[in-house]
Amino acid sequence: MTDAAPKRSWLNPIIAALLVAALQTAALGYMIEGRASILRNGREILLKTVPVDPRDLLRGDYVILSYDISRLEPELFKGDLPAQSEETTLYVRLNKQIDGFWQATEASFQPLPTLGDSVLLRSQPFSYYPTSPPSAVTVDYGIERFYVPEGEGRVLEEARNAEALSVSVRVDDKGQAQIREIAINGAPIYQEPLY
């Protein structure tokens, strides 16, 4: 701290700039491609939202989306439940219903096998507190926010609260979900491009 001599840099600044910019760009590219590949290759499911105006400091306005499948009733659970409170994830099996929407038919704290036409979703990590008898669990899937241009959130919120909003989601084989399209009364209003 007391050393007043100017410190020598160990890398040519140009090489340093190249390294930093290239690696930061690569990190962004990796993030983008990871998401785009879910949109490109994932299986499509249609979800119904349920009624629930915050603002994200860095990412701007967004609408909170809550789904039928966000709340899992205790009857759905198969296999062992954690005996004590812990940080865990849930695997949720979805099946297509007659009305075209997908519903949770099974949930487990252990990985579920793929089965027929069903789609497996993986929840975000959450804190589970065991109760007896087991109670319903609310989970997130990483598709609970939809960012909209400043001031355009109101229409979506009203539609969501009128239960007219449906969300098409693509799911990859790891159970990661990615929003692809938002529709009001079946008419798409936001379609997400790959990039």
Binding site: P6, R8, T25, L28, R35, D61, G142
Partner: protein, 369 residues
Amino acid sequence: MYRARLERDFKLWMDKGLLREDAARAMLAEYDGRESTFRAGRVLLILAALLLSASILLLVAANWGALPRLARVAGIVALIWAFHFAAAWLQRAGRSALAAAALVLGVATFGASIALVGQMYHLSGDAADAALLWFAGACLSALTFRSAAMATVAGGLAWFYFISLLTEDGFGLSFDWRTWLVPVLCVVVVVQVRLADAGRARHLAYLLLVSWLAWRYVDHPSLAFAGGLAAAGLVAFLAATLPGSPLRQLAIEAGSAPAFYSFALALLGFTALQYQAVGVPTEVATGAGTLLVALLGIALAGAQNGAVRYLGYLAFAGELLYLAFETLGTMIGTSGFFLISGLVVAGIAWLVIRIEGHMAQTRRTEVSQ
């Protein structure tokens, strides 16, 4: 502040004939020429860079529909490249302050681009991961450019990571690997501060570590953890200050921080132990321990380290008042509390005056030898 005090003291010493005028002028000139010396221009430059960074971040947050998404990504990546190459060019031209400002802009743009990707794909519940990636970007820039400004930014982003972890989990930390990463980030920041010679930025890391430990205790209070904190803090403090300790020299080279923060950690541990204590005898035992640690700190490091000395006084006074209130206060009521407080503070004042006098005496004998 320090500069003004230095000048005043020099004047006093010149008047007393202790210091020659040309020597004083040379010393001030040396001080002014130091890299780390406060300069209004430099500070304003970094402030300007931070304001511009905020504008980039907010532009992303506005989710401006006039530009297609891919154009936004391309634009922001182009900005990342532009800022870093500008920094390289400025550094080669010897304009280190401007280079630091360009690096700040570069890393802020990287943060904005992470937010942009999050916005594009509607990612939710990943604020801490994003903060971690942003931190990694800042570290990369700090290491390759060996930049003190970037080491400081990395320290700030380590804090941002900790705060996003806390807010994401609603202030109740679940102790998985992401929480255990916080002390790792502290170590990374300290290493960078040493490499880039960033001086005061190390306090960001030390404060983060102490806050993290405090949070860990508040979230999961346990006797073992409190005892561990007290023991670890005490051992670290002794290692940093006990004459003959192999680590002492290293700690002194790092300034007053190691002694101060290990001392703070030990006191935090004893405060936690006090919180765990049940019944008057254990209260008094842990209280006596705290008093001893405070005195030990003043005796071992108080002479060289003003921060340790004042923290020691504060802990000593606080602990005595607490003990008086816990044991006697309940019996004699509130008026008695003020009587005891007055007596205790008077006692402490007497003790402090004795200690300070003793320290001044030793310093004088050292000088005359």
